[in-house]
């Protein structure tokens, strides 16, 4: 177990190095200084900037400074705000995590509840209606669904604040947007696995020996469906993170996603770099946790 975690952390560091290298290579394709400075910068500004960023040495040396800097968390100061970029990013991290985690938990639990209820009821019409609703929801990208909710709940009905993160009410629309997306995804998944399971011999045996339907679904079928669904949940974290990044733009949500996008448009590139490193780190850590969870749930999985 301990060795497994160490291996995974090792791979996580390799992944971070790969991202940083990609970033470094991408930076080489253009003159970063020219990219960073406004168009009217003088030659003296360019030189000063070049020295400040350590861009005058040989490539290997630049690469080394870049990587060691990034890994120790020193990615330099934000160009627009004159503060350490990492600090700015970490300030924004809670807002993003709140949105992503609460949406995931709400969505996952709601999907589980709906899928189990549909299965216990044995009502094909109910199941089919849920499935159709889920497919409809999946056909609307999160950012678009967010705009539609703003249109209905804020603009037309005036019930909730549309943007910002000032009060508890301002959480409703963003969380609802992302959570419904998650509900749809996991509802369809649970349904798929329940469908596959229904014809199994062990289900028939359970029915034959008189297991009640709620017990059959909750104690026999659900644990078997939970494993593959959690695997897929791990794979879909990327979609969750990507969706959140874009949603932050819709709702003016003060999270990492909006910071990164602003960094890109304002050419504030230490911010972009810090944002990407932090997001990737969190993402890798969550993936490790998902794997451990998987091993806890399934005694057959031996971590080596």
């Amino acid at each position: 177990m301990g060795r497994y975690i160490l291996t995974r952390i090792g791979w996580g560091i390799v992944t971070l190095l790969a991202i940083l290298t990609l970033f470094f290579l991408a930076r080489l394709t253009g003159d970063p200084v020219r990219l960073l400075l406004p168009d009217q910068a003088t030659q003296a500004d360019v030189e000063a900037m070049r020295n400040a960023l350590g861009l005058n040495g040989p490539l290997i040396e630049q690469y080394w400074t870049f990587i060691t800097g990034a890994l120790t968390g020193d990615v330099g100061d934000s160009i627009r705000q004159q503060r350490p970029a990492l600090e700015l990013v970490l300030e924004r991290l809670p807002a993003t995590l709140e949105l992503a985690i609460s949406s995931f938990l709400l969505g996952f639990i709601a999907a589980l509840g709906l899928a189990v209820a549909g299965e216990i009821s044995g009502n094909r019409k109910l199941r089919s209606a849920l499935l159709w609703a889920a497919t409809f929801r999946q056909s609307v990208p999160p950012y678009l669904f967010g705009i539609l909710l703003i249109l209905i709940l804020s603009v037309n009905m005036g019930l909730l604040p549309a943007i910002g993160r000032s009060s508890l009410a301002s959480y409703v629309i963003p969380v609802l947007t992302m959570a419904t997306f998650e509900v749809a995804l996991y509802l369809r998944l649970f349904n798929t696995f329940f469908d596959e399971m229904r014809a199994n011999d062990w289900v028939r045996t359970a029915i034959a020996k008189g297991v009640s339907r709620p017990r059959l679904v909750v104690r026999h079928m659900l644990p078997n469906a939970l494993l593959p669904v959690i695997t897929v949940a791990g794979l879909n974290l990327g979609i969750l993170v990507g969706g959140t990044v874009v949603l932050e733009m819709v709702f003016n949500w003060p999270g990492i996603g909006r910071l990164i996008v602003q960094g890109v448009t304002q050419r504030d590139y230490p911010i972009v770099q810090a944002g990407v490193v932090v997001t990737a780190t969190v993402f890798i850590l969550i993936n490790i946790v998902v794997d451990l969870l998987y091993a806890l749930l399934d005694p057959r999985v031996r971590l080596a």
């Binding site: 992944t15 990208p141 950012y143 249109l151 469908d195 596959e196 979609i239 990507g242």
Partner: protein
């Protein structure tokens, strides 16, 4: 649909057909929009006229669905935007599939260290959220439509690589491959003539669903201003521009939104019919 003891095959089939009809209707509507609207004499996606700025829909026969803030015809623009989205997605998916097939074939056929190395690269790439990776790449390299197609294609090969590799690993043990090897067929020949045709069906299924995923990603990127850039119309960009007029001119947002819904829905509803495997949101 392998469950032989399913109790209601008829009802099941009826529901499946309905979702297929919904899917086809959605996709055909978008196809008509893309193909037929450019034939209409009033088709002028780029012509601005400030006299007719923010014209509402169904008022002026010259602009059947109204105009945007610069007085450009919405119907024409949404037609071009849909075309751009579909072409970008098809191009990107073709690149992903091509790269994935090549890597999958080589990894599955050679096995050993090459296989491990290629799959490790894939795993590393999966550890970075696609949208984030794209934001970084676009920030560094820019986002001309062609570049966007290539980037969208390159960040998405891993799924194809894994599927193809898994198939090749099992195919290479089959007798017909042994027969070709015995007859002196080279590795390259076997990959091209014997393995490739066998992996293509699975690749096509994956690619069909990926088109919807890529359309979502591209429109999201364009929406936040990092995808298709202004003179070219794009659905995400139109929505982000229309958002400013939500209270006065809702059509500006709803029209491109409807096209996106039809495009992605067309694929999602087909997936409800054709597979029980909607694993990629």
């Amino acid at each position: 649909m392998t469950d032989a003891v399913s109790t209601a095959p008829r009802r099941q089939r009826l529901r499946m057909n309905l979702s297929l009809i919904v899917s086809l209707t959605m996709l055909l509507t978008v196809l008509l929009l893309i193909v037929v609207v450019p034939l209409w004499p009033g088709f002028e996606p780029d012509k601005q006229s400030l006299f007719f700025s923010l014209e509402p829909a169904f008022q002026n026969p010259q602009y059947p669905l109204g105009t945007d803030a610069l007085g450009r015809d919405l119907l024409s623009r949404v037609s071009v935007a849909a075309r751009v989205s579909v072409l970008v997605a098809l191009g990107a998916v073709s690149i992903s599939a091509a790269v994935g097939i090549l890597i999958g074939l080589v990894a599955g056929w050679l096995r050993g260290p090459v296989d491990s190395a290629l799959m490790a690269i894939g795993n590393i790439q999966l550890a970075v959220p696609v949208v984030l990776l794209l934001i970084v790449l676009v920030a560094a390299l820019g986002s001309s439509p062609l570049l966007l197609v290539v980037l969208l294609g390159l960040v998405n090969w891993v799924g194809y690589g894994r599927v193809v590799r898994a198939q090749v690993v099992s195919l290479r043990e089959r007798e017909f491959i042994t027969a070709v090897t015995t007859a002196g067929g080279s590795g390259w020949w076997i990959m091209r003539k014997h393995l490739l045709p066998n992996v293509l069906p699975a690749v096509f299924v994956l690619a069909a669903f990926d088109v919807g995923v890529i359309i979502t990603v591209e429109s999201s990127l364009s929406f936040i201003g990092l995808g298709i850039q202004p003179p070219t119309p794009s659905l995400g960009l139109m929505i982000s521009e229309g958002q400013r007029y939500l209270q006065t001119n809702i059509g500006l947002t709803l029209l491109p939104a409807l096209v996106i819904f039809f495009l992605i829905g067309g694929i999602q509803f087909a997936s409800q019919t054709l597979t029980k495997n909607p694993r990629r949101g």
